[in-house]
């Protein structure tokens, strides 16, 4: 279910490192909690984010949630497809439903995040 190579946050975001960049999205658990997603508000390309800064918001039918930057970095790309098809986040949260791509400020931030086994244990704790 959860890709082995990703890192995860307690706010249910995932980070996939590719060289000096990181792709960020929300996890399958998060999309299930949100339900049907209608809009994703994305940040501007070029913006510099500190860890825990708000990246944007996700509006589902029943709620609105902030998305936070799991790590510090500069926004180098956003998933423009979400403008027309926000439900990609529901359908493929760990793939086509990615949200932003960051140029990492440093790699230490990523190392501090949960591994897949940590995240799965964390979820078991929430569901218990």
């Amino acid at each position: 279910m959860y890709p082995r190579e990703f890192r995860y946050t307690k706010e249910h975001e995932w980070v996939k490192v590719e060289g000096g960049e990181a792709v960020v999205g929300i996890t399958d658990f998060a999309q299930k909690q949100l339900g049907d997603i209608i809009f994703v508000e994305l940040p501007e390309v070029g913006r510099t984010l500190g860890a825990h800064d708000s990246i944007g918001t996700i509006e589902s039918v029943k709620s609105v949630s902030d998305i936070f930057a799991p790590v510090a970095g500069e926004v180098v790309a956003v998933n423009g497809e979400l403008g027309q098809a926000a439900d990609l986040v529901n359908k493929d949260p760990h793939g086509k439903g990615w949200i932003v791509r960051l140029r990492l400020a440093d790699k230490a931030g990523v190392e501090a995040l949960m591994t897949v086994s940590d995240y799965e244990k964390y979820l078991e704790g929430l569901e218990a």
Binding site: G35, D36, I38, F39, T57, E59, V61, K62, V64
Partner: protein, 363 residues
């Protein structure tokens, strides 16, 4: 938390459960959009057993109901239902409700789950001088709602009642899947359909039978999430959001439930005066013309000034628009009036539109 007798059924259908005014209720099964569309195009089954039921009986039962409510219960023949309200002396809402005329001295009131105890206390407190007995039967009753264009066909397979002869806002007693029930052609979705009240300890039999028979018709279980989006598209009021003890019946644009000719009722004087003088504010429907979804309590602005708050707002899955309701000064309730909705740090454009947002085509 309280659970309905259908709790195990919800678990079996993989419902996501939430707390709703002290009840553990299903919010969604397959997803709000799929469920919403199923009710608009096929049919959906709801567990609404959390709703409250109050029985009023006795020689003065009609006079008492007339005293408590603005609509004219004298117009009801046995077997008929009416939408009405419990009003305060200020013409505001204790609750909105359905009144069922079971017999000339026998009325059955269906009230909101969140208000059931408050309503019953209100009813008891106002019964002095009336020859009536009252009983809060909320915990005895389970209620299922089967709503959508296929509802009549599905339910007909499970009952000997001739459903073609139960018209809108009428009801009859009979068996559904072998279980004694009151079957009422009413609902909270804007679709044709039925509400089924039962005191049987095992209403799961009916739930299972409807979903088994309904499978071929596309019937699926529906949670409170889609119940809210469906009722808002049809501009059906939600107590606590759109109506409350701070809003009058006329401000809520429910003049049609005020029958001033019927005699006295709680709040009549205030409402009559308001009718003559005109209301200063009224509930209005709006549609967001920018991008965004209005939610309850978001500010409503005109020319940069906050005028009120959104009372209900959602993304409407059938209309595929963002819609909402808000109380506005009467001069801003004209269709086409441009307003702004404050969504976090932005003001998005919206306009006042005719309601209901959705109206089904009658066959």
């Amino acid at each position: 938390m309280k659970r309905t007798r259908l709790y195990d059924s919800h678990k079996k259908w993989n419902a996501r459960m939430i707390e709703f005014f002290g009840w553990e209720m299903p919010v969604e099964y397959k997803g709000i959009i799929d469920e919403h569309m199923a009710v608009r195009t096929k049919a959906g089954l709801f567990d609404v057993s959390h709703m409250g039921e109050v029985v009023v009986r006795g020689k003065d039962a009609l006079a008492f109901v007339q005293h408590l409510t603005p609509n004219d219960a004298a117009r009801l023949a046995p077997g008929q239902v009416q939408y009405t309200a419990l009003t305060t002396p200020e013409g505001t809402f204790v609750d909105d409700m359905l009144v069922y005329c079971v017999g000339p001295e026998d009325y059955f009131l269906v009230v909101n789950a969140s208000n059931a105890d408050k309503d019953y206390a209100w009813i008891v407190a106002h019964a002095k001088g009336f020859a009536v007995t009252t009983e809060n039967r909320s915990s005895a009753y389970s209620q299922l709602a089967l709503q959508g264009p296929e509802a009549v066909a599905v339910l007909q397979e499970l009952t000997a009642l001739d459903l073609a002869h139960i018209q809108s806002f009428h009801f009859a007693f009979g068996k559904v899947a072998g279980v004694d029930a009151l079957v009422s052609r009413t609902g909270y979705t804007g679709e044709d359909g039925f509400e089924i009240y039962m005191v049987d300890p095992n209403p799961g039999v009916v739930w299972d039978a409807i979903l088994a028979k309904g499978g071929d018709h596309g019937v699926m279980p529906i949670g409170l999430g889609a119940r809210d989006t469906l009722r808002l598209e049809a501009k059906l009021m939600l107590y606590g959001n759109d109506i409350s003890d701070k809003t009058t019946v006329l401000e809520a644009d429910l003049k049609w439930i005020c029958k001033f000719q019927k005699g006295d009722f709680l709040g009549k004087a205030v409402l009559e005066r308001q009718l003559v003088e005109g209301v200063r504010r009224k509930i209005a429907g709006f549609e967001i013309t920018d991008r965004g979804i209005a939610r309850p309590h978001y500010p409503v602005l005109v020319g940069g000034t906050k005028l009120s708050e959104v009372s209900s707002g959602t993304f409407a899955p059938f209309l595929k628009k963002s819609i909402g309701l808000a109380y506005l000064p009467i001069e801003h309730t004209v269709i086409g009036t441009e307003i702004g909705i404050g969504i976090r740090d932005k003001v998005v454009k919206a306009k006042v539109v005719p309601t209901p947002f959705y109206k089904r085509e009658k066959k």
